[in-house]
Symmetry: C2
Subunit: 502 residues, 2 copies
């Protein structure tokens, strides 16, 4: 057995145990009664510790060195998948071993404690309450960033970003987001003006029974390509896509007053699911067989939700199905009204409720603030003020309190720093990849208008899903679309959808 083969066996086990942890998290969100939380915590901790010991085993470090030497010696035509797999192994090992165990434990403990206080602080709109814990947590996050920056040989922010977006670069993000930030405020004004001049959308009158919502959601999931022999749809407080490629677990949350919310949410998660389902089966459980990063994952969910399913073509397909499901009649249920309803733009305070046009502003603000805080250029004391100034600048609104401002998202308060930019990088990639798919396979929009996603998924399977982590996100986007991620393409897609241009 070569060193590389030995590594494959070890990472296969790590991959399987990682899937086990994922199932436990799914169960926690979907099935577990409240009394089970402490036992579940012990189970996850035992699994984490075990996985950490397996990857931090000194023998594994020796194998990495030996396998890199093997590959260095080998002919240049060696399987690029194996090469990429070894690179991903090294990257995972670096992340797993960069931090001292004491720092890992302090991050976990302080993150849990800070999240607990944050829940109260948000409920009471009292930022001062969580400030001490947030400062403590940020101190640890800065230490972690420094240690990872050294292990990965990159800057502080990029070291944290790399966990979510392998090879991601804040220099690139700065350039992209600066372009977007310059474009958005003016564009938003144009959209709002045009929207005000058009007739207001007619409301759909509910209630919309949950059983019918679920049945319609399942019908549309199947249209997109979801295989119910290889997955489930359940309910949870916060919708997500979990599971494994052969057993994908999507969740949603139903609102009897608004069926579009759950429906578009399910279609979003179905986009994630199709990516997971399409990952290369040959490299199952290996690092190179995993999804490329969070930006590309988000691109696949937004491609299905925003690019495909909020299009006039798809809403024309949906309208009669929705009428049949809910007994809807009249002008409100016509495709053009559904289009106006599902593409409404309105600046607001809350990121997760934001539309496609205003969402990037929420993300750019958070990205800039977390970058400054990680770099030590800003302290959490100044967060509420900086937040509100950013909202005024980018969206023209000022939150009335911090619960609608800097307390709204869990991320920073439970230790997830460096994640936010992937949302908007994903939105941009979705627009660019969808445009390339349509350029290559012109029948895609018509097919979507018939509820037929096969042409789109065939192209995505080949250009995106089936490639796993063979390339970096930037490389993959360039291969798939013919050019690097370009804010102008996203901006053009926004102009087309919201101003009717192009």
């Amino acid at each position: 057995m070569t060193a590389y083969e030995d590594l494959e066996a070890r990472f296969k086990r790590l991959g399987a145990l990682g899937e086990v942890a994922g199932l436990l998290q799914w169960d926690t969100s979907v099935m577990m009664p409240s009394g089970g939380a402490a036992a579940r915590g012990e189970q996850l901790a035992a699994l984490d510790l075990t996985c950490h010991e397996l990857i931090a085993d000194p023998a594994l470090a020796d194998l990495l060195t030996a396998a890199e030497a093997e590959m260095g010696d080998a002919a240049a035509d060696l399987d690029p998948w194996a090469r990429a797999n070894l690179r991903q192994m090294r990257r995972r090992w670096r992340h797993a071993t960069a931090l001292e165990p004491a720092l890992v434990e302090a991050l976990s403990r302080t993150g849990t404690a800070c999240e607990m206080v944050w829940r109260q602080a948000r409920a009471e709109a009292d930022f001062a309450l969580v400030l001490p814990k947030l400062k403590e947590l940020l101190g640890l996050v800065r230490q972690a960033a420094a240690a990872k920056a050294e292990a990965l040989g990159c800057g502080l922010y990029d070291a944290l970003l790399d966990e979510y977006e392998p090879g991601g670069s804040s220099a690139r993000i700065d350039a992209i987001f600066d372009d977007l930030a310059a474009f958005l405020p003016g564009f938003l004004g144009q959209v709002l003006e045009r929207q005000a001049a058009a007739p207001a959308p007619l409301p759909l009158e509910g209630p919309f029974p949950i059983d019918q919502q679920r049945a319609l959601a399942r019908q549309l999931m199947a249209a997109v390509g979801f295989d119910f022999e290889r997955g489930r749809l359940d309910t949870s407080l916060h919708p997500f896509c979990g599971g494994v490629p052969e057993d994908i677990r999507i969740t949603t949350r139903y609102d009897e007053a608004d069926f579009a919310k759950a429906l578009m949410g399910v279609l979003h998660e179905t986009g994630h699911a199709m990516y997971e389902r399409g990952l290369p089966a040959k490299w199952r459980l290996q690092p190179v067989g995993a999804a490329c990063g969070m930006a590309l994952h988000e691109s696949q969910s937004l491609l299905v939700e925003m690019q495909a399913c909020r299009s006039a073509a798809f809403l024309g397909y949906l309208a009669p199905l929705a009428r049949a499901a809910f007994g809807g009649t009249g002008a409100a249920w016509q495709p053009d009204n559904l289009l106006r309803l599902t593409n409404r733009v309105e600046p607001g305070f809350i990121r997760v409720d934001a539309d496609e046009v205003t969402y990037p502003a929420h993300v750019i603000l958070r990205y800039r603030l977390e970058k400054a805080m990680i770099a030590g250029e800003m302290e959490p004391e100044n967060l509420p003020e900086a937040w509100n100034a950013g909202m005024a600048e980018l969206l023209g609104v000022t939150p009335p309190d911090d619960a609608l401002g800097c307390l709204q998202d869990i991320h920073w308060y439970d230790g997830a720093w460096g994640y936010f930019p992937t949302y908007t990088l994903g939105a941009m990639a979705a627009a660019q990849i969808f445009a390339a798919a349509v350029a290559a396979v012109p029948e895609i929009p018509d097919a979507i208008g018939r509820g037929d996603f096969a042409p789109l998924m065939a192209w995505l399977g080949e250009k995106v899903h089936g490639l796993g982590s063979l390339h970096t996100t930037d490389e993959l986007i360039e291969h798939a679309t013919g050019q690097p991620l370009d804010p102008k393409i996203f901006e053009a897609s926004l102009r087309a959808r919201y101003l009717g241009e192009g």
Copy 2:
């Protein structure tokens, strides 16, 4: 840290990982779509391998020796729980390390293969089809029994039995089952005669909608003491009780034509659940904190189902609830008719459909046959003939084919040898423990007649549930009831229930 403390930390992790495997099995039976089977197999295999490595770690063997020396040196008043915990650790270690890895793998692979063939053989009532695989599997089981017998210092059968019933002894079981086998045929004749002389029970006319069955089952679970903040009721093909003490997962299977089947099944599983829930919280995840063995576990389920819930007192409580749930009216829904329906005795071919009187005959037959086969005194070729002879002798019926005979149970065909006697040991222990509970707390039957299980559960909590694996099953039964397991007590309970004696 003492060696014992180090062992506690290691076994705590093993306990948590064991719970993870249990959750995966629950999910497999209840939630997993069919396509997920292969991935689930990889996940369970990775978890098994990891647990095996943890327990087979040479450092753990050294710690066991060192901890045993520590305890030998320590004062005699050392915590008996810690002593029992160390004994259980040693026992688990012996089981885990007794077999060569190659034998473990061969057992697993051959068990899976044999089970596959068995499914077809049973469907086609073709014993010859599965015979070669069964012989191969039995050969491996005999090897395993020999290796475990050496590690545990006991006989072949007892070495297999010990996995399910720690410290169990076939010499004791022989004596007990011989007594029962002498009693049962004559008793059965008396019961059938008495039953024939009484009016036949009136049938309950369905259908019984599943939603109402579920609601009634949940109501009765709550009456027994099941806490839905710490557990769930779901549906699966084969009902079972899984989960962990703070998150117990019961399953059942509904039949629209017969609500009593699922209802009594749920009450049976609730008995298992109450045992798990009542295990000593202080010793959570430690071997001594686990249930004592399968016989005692079955005693707790049968105590709730057979002793408590098939009693006239409980059926008097149930009757109006069932009438309300299903809109039942007339004499068929009166308690005395429900009693006749739920205590009907009828010799049949199938163990899992058997009543309380004929069930032990099914078990005694299997026990005698598997003991003979493990000892090499009988070969699988002779199984159909020996099976049918035993059925004729013990129950007076002869299966028309092997699907209704020696092919009916999965146990032998997937490698579970030495398990069968625990069913009937459990039934006997249930009768003996319930009698002791009523003798100690005379208001128990009246309370059960009001749907109040608190007095019964308080007594069981103290005398059974809360003791975990502090004692052996035999010791525990003797402490709780004042005497060793005695077939005469079980026989007396059968006489009382089915002949109205005493």
